[in-house]
Symmetry: C3
Subunit: 204 residues, 3 copies
């Protein structure tokens, strides 16, 4: 199940990336790069940091085609996408949660310690968006958005807690996925945010 | 032949990087870093993504000296470089094409599938410039410039097509190099561009 | 001794990173990411470029806790930190020098050639700050600051020179550390800078 969600999620992330590229008036190539980085950049960074070679997508060229295709499709459909804005938010939330679970699982299988497992999940979940924003020359929105990264953190911790309690992997994945998705959608709906840290010292 | 072109190209890219650093009023050290990243950053990223360690330049310290030397020379000569602007454009085009061919070749030898081979060529060809622009805090120009990345893509595809047709490697490299260079120079001369995607939805 | 200095230094770098995040009004999560990247990003990049897996901090979860804790503490104490500004500058200088020595040592043990050893030291010393500034969407300050990177370079060269002269490692580390710290503090005190390269050609 998670692998179907994964394919839907990378396509949705690629489309979100393409829209961000459009805001910067990039050409069609730039759109493809930003779509790719948004969808697969988090997993790429995770694999590099964990020393897991070959990197995931290099063994699945179909993912590359899917992501580039979704980016190009976005260029054609951009004018109509505002009608499905809510669908996008749901797909993005599904991606965030699915990526986090997949990333944690990868690090667990490699035998890393729990803090690294959590960080691998969060890197997979949110760093595609961070890299997209760096390439689009803006402060990463996930550092300021409604409970975005925290959802990733919560999903990873829940997954590890249920695992420690002996819940079977499939059940665990399903529970963590639904709980994470609910938390993210609630956060958007209610506008929940983390406290912000604003600092400007006299001596800066 | 390609290795001489390669040395000329990394020196030219380093000089272009140094000029970009000058536009941001960096100090001499910043100039060296940006020169290095522009010239060798694409190959570094390619090696990391392909899991190819040790990374190329770590085994060729002479390349590091060449790149840093070219960056420092640029600081001394900057005032006179506008006289050789056209030469620069040609050297940059040669670098783009040579980097793309070298990058494809590296991935081919490692046994990666064709989409990854093309992406390795393009990463080598254009990501030095992307990293330079990220460090100089601007939207990467290759995402908006006249047929820049597309030349890299076309060179990689031509090289793979000729290879599939059984053309010997040396002949293939020569043909792909000349064709790519011609395409890039034509694109500059005629101002060819990719269609641009400009998007600002009501709901952004 | 260097390992205690190292722990103090990563905590100090994490606090400096958290303050930078506060200048961008990030939320508490963004603060933790920037703290982490500032403190451990240089070493992470070094390990990736040298092909040294698993990466250092993945084997020392305590470092992750220390860095995140220091970042969160900074949010609580931010209003009072201007009183210890000078202490911060000294801790930051200690971090720069300690990171540089540790980075060189890592590359030496892996058998890399001397230019790569120096670059590994410099990457460890200054790229945490570079990554911090990229994520905060500004031109990296180390490319423009008073003798920052040059101190890292000088420390690495001194360490290698004393090593070539047969000075025992511990004595060498102590001398290089004190000399580097003195150079950095002198540079701040006297406002020493590298020459800046400012360039804007007619044809840009």
């Amino acid at each position: 199940m998670l692998s179907i969600v994964y394919l839907v999620a990378i396509a949705a992330e690629a489309m979100a990336g393409a829209l961000a590229a459009g805001r910067r008036r990039m050409d069609v190539f730039g759109v493809c790069v930003i779509a790719f980085v948004t969808a697969l950049g988090g997993g790429t960074l995770r694999d590099i940091v964990l020393g897991r070679f070959p990197i995931g997508w290099t063994q699945h060229p179909a993912h590359v085609y899917l992501v580039v295709g979704a980016g190009l499709l976005t260029v054609l459909l951009a004018r109509h996408l505002h009608r499905v804005r809510r669908l996008f938010l749901v797909l993005d939330a599904m991606g965030l949660v699915a990526f986090s679970l997949i990333g944690s699982d990868v690090a667990l299988r490699m035998g890393y310690e729990l803090p690294v497992v959590v960080m691998a999940g969060m890197m997979t979940g949110i760093f595609g968006g961070v890299l997209r924003d760096v390439l689009c020359n803006q402060v990463p929105v996930v550092f300021r958005q409604e409970l975005y990264a925290v959802v990733s953190l919560a999903v990873c911790l829940l997954f590890l807690a249920l695992r420690a309690l002996g819940v079977p992997p499939d059940v665990n994945t399903a529970i963590s996925f639904v709980a994470g998705l609910a938390l993210r959608l609630l956060a958007i709906w209610r506008g929940w945010r983390l406290p912000t840290f604003s600092h400007r010292a006299a001596w800066d």
